[in-house]
Symmetry: C2
Subunit: 413 residues, 2 copies
């Protein structure tokens, strides 16, 4: 097993507002090459502390990747710190300087003197071409280890890693095949899901299984590392097939697609449309459905009806129904869905009504939600009590509404 450490450089990454995310991309790429990330470090623009951090990483890891700190200013200390950590010199490379100058020239601008700093490289390093910016990357081999310096901006880092680093890394790595499955699940809690499937996956180190949850949406990743594709696929089936069986209709995606994309595809296949009538979600449901490009073919439109008066006026909900059952009720949820469907001419409609909190105006317990559904000749509503604060109640409700639509599209219970 080959180990990597990632060091993100930049004082802005040590503020309360921002954190390193390049390492998520790099981890995904490295895992795909069979490399495990063992440690990630975030350091400021501090030459001394970065030098120490690089030295410490080189003790433990086979591959050390640094991101950021390759710009032209005094604050950009990565080149210096790496040279110091390795006990090498920085050398000026006229060809790199010419390249940077040319980059400015084609934009009819003059290179600032300060950019000459970017033409210094660690002695013995290979230069990694930057197709999207001025800072070249560096590839350094040292005592059987590899140190890679990448620019911080993701639009520069990603193409550089893919075009310059992947093939170089592959040459140094043992042949390992990585295959994965990426499930997405809704309608259960993370702990219930884990109780259900842990007896299957806990027996296996390979494939490695990770579970990740947000409000009403759980991701399950299986990743097998093997010498052959056949072996990897066999292991994935051995663990994944029983998991799929256990999850049943709760499993909405087998390839990592979002709920809205799965629904978009189902609507496309059926040449069907959906309309929404949103009370407590206030647009969240429409926003999710329309986040998918091409949704204009399937989204028939929607109504954001916060008030009782608008539920009556825009959707034709009967005022007596609201007075008799209250606005947070099965009856009103159904009437909202039916009204939205009728007024838009959509094949299907879904509705949300409930108490998102923090306080209740309808008398219903905070978190109480009804989700309505209407189709030709059929309408219904389901009741939920969602946990958490206003934002989580709205998030859970949106996921549950998408789930009800998906189940009806698939003819599931």
């Amino acid at each position: 097993m080959v180990d990597a450490e990632i060091i993100a450089v930049g004082s802005e990454l040590l503020t309360p507002q921002r954190t390193d995310t390049n390492s998520l991309y790099l981890t995904d790429q490295l895992n795909g090459l069979g490399v495990e990330v063992r440690r990630k470090t975030i350091v400021g623009d501090d030459r001394a502390r970065l030098t120490i951090t690089v030295r410490e990483a080189l003790v433990h890891a086979d591959i050390v990747i640094l991101t950021g700190g390759l710009g032209p200013t005094e604050d950009d200390v990565t080149r210096d710190a790496v040279a110091a950590a390795l006990g090498r010199q920085l050398v000026f490379r006229q060809d790199i300087c010419d390249g940077i100058e040319e980059r400015f020239r084609v934009r009819s601008r003059k290179m600032a003197e300060i950019n000459r700093r970017q033409a210094f490289v660690v002695e013995g390093a290979e230069v990694l071409d930057n197709s999207a910016g001025t800072a070249p990357g560096l590839w350094i081999e040292h005592d059987s280890k590899v140190i890679i310096l990448l620019p911080g901006p993701p639009p520069e880092l990603k193409p550089m890693f893919e075009t310059e680093c992947v093939s170089r890394l592959k040459q140094r790595l043992p042949d390992v095949i990585i295959r994965s499955r990426f499930y997405r699940v809704t309608g259960m809690t993370e702990s219930d899901l884990d109780m259900l499937i842990a007896p299957v996956y806990k027996k296996y180190d390979n494939p490695a299984t990770t579970v990740l949850a947000s409000a009403g949406d759980i991701q399950v990743h299986l990743r097998a590392r093997c010498e052959t594709v056949e072996e990897a696929e066999r292991l994935l089936a051995e663990v994944g097939d029983p998991i799929e069986e256990l999850l049943g209709a709760m499993l909405y995606s087998r390839n990592g697609d979002s709920h809205e994309r799965v629904i978009g595809n189902l609507l496309h296949e059926r040449e069907a449309t959906v309309a929404v009538a949103e009370s407590l979600t206030g647009g969240m449901l429409g926003q999710r459905i329309t986040a998918i490009s091409g949704s204009s073919d399937n989204f028939a439109g929607g109504f954001l009806v916060y008030t009782n008066a608008l539920k009556q006026k825009l959707l034709g909900v009967d005022g007596d129904l609201i007075r008799e059952y209250t606005v947070v009720s099965k009856e009103v949820a159904v009437a909202m869905a039916e009204g939205a469907r009728q007024r838009t001419g959509a094949t299907y409609a879904i509705s949300t009504t409930g108490e998102a909190g923090p306080s209740s105006s309808s008398g219903a317990v905070v978190g109480t939600v009804f989700i309505g559904f209407a189709a030709e000749g059929h309408s219904e509503a389901q009741r939920f009590v969602m946990p958490g604060d206003r934002s989580r109640v709205r998030g859970f409700t949106t996921n549950a509404a998408l789930d009800l639509l998906r189940r009806r599209l698939l003819g599931l219970d």
Copy 2:
């Protein structure tokens, strides 16, 4: 200056899907106490590597905070690793064990044998009470340094830090006053903003200024560290007042409030309501406005009108107008806003129509957006060309629509 390092423990934090965020909260808290975070490290559930990481941190930092790895399973290695790094023993504490057992008992459950692990503490440590879970935290003083062990789940970590750690830290720290300003700005790019205000703030190390941008929303933080409140406020005024002057109407918040909260407050003060008519934003605008609790008083409702037919049917947009000017036009944006206002009886209405991409169906260039506004006796629309992909175009449009509404509420140009 007192330095801290934060070590987040957990193999799930080394996957491509998840990263440590507790450190953002802790950094904010530590900065407020006058402590600078110099390095953050993320390590898996790996006793050996964590032990080394703790040792390395202790060389450089005055305060080392570890988060996570305090649970009851074999994977929870933080206690062990810290004991090993400090050369101390783990000792069993019957009183902690009794407390955990009691926690289970009041929930009518029996403590699992495995939970006894959580009653082991590093020799000489003070125990930090956990009001929200079973894992106690630990406070360890060692060679004039402090090592703090906190549980990983934020609902346990945050109250423990605030009730158990802040006062202990204050006793050890020099008296420093921290005062800050938190501006939020819209309607300009990050680089334009920085060109404008950098000449003011670059001259000062204190207050420290950080700038953070997302699609159409920029945050500017000033943080002054001084011996007296008066000195801190004087410095903040010296840097902040000219910045406020330069930003003018672009500055929508002086206290970090979100755009939707600022607008909610303005509508409340005026006892006014707003309605939305959304095409390309598909619900994003309504969702933002209704994310604020209490928005039911000010949100008159909305229309998600993706298709030309619905723009005509639900909002009364004239079909001839669409044919003459196309659906992505000033005229249609105005008609949408007027229709939404008239049909909901709202004081104001805002509308969005445009091409979010990836391809254009209206003939307009991708990114072209019109935002409409309607009030009593006045309506208008503004044209924008938004950069980026579908998701960024929608985000920029939502921020620009909120901004137009805010300016009209304030009578700004």
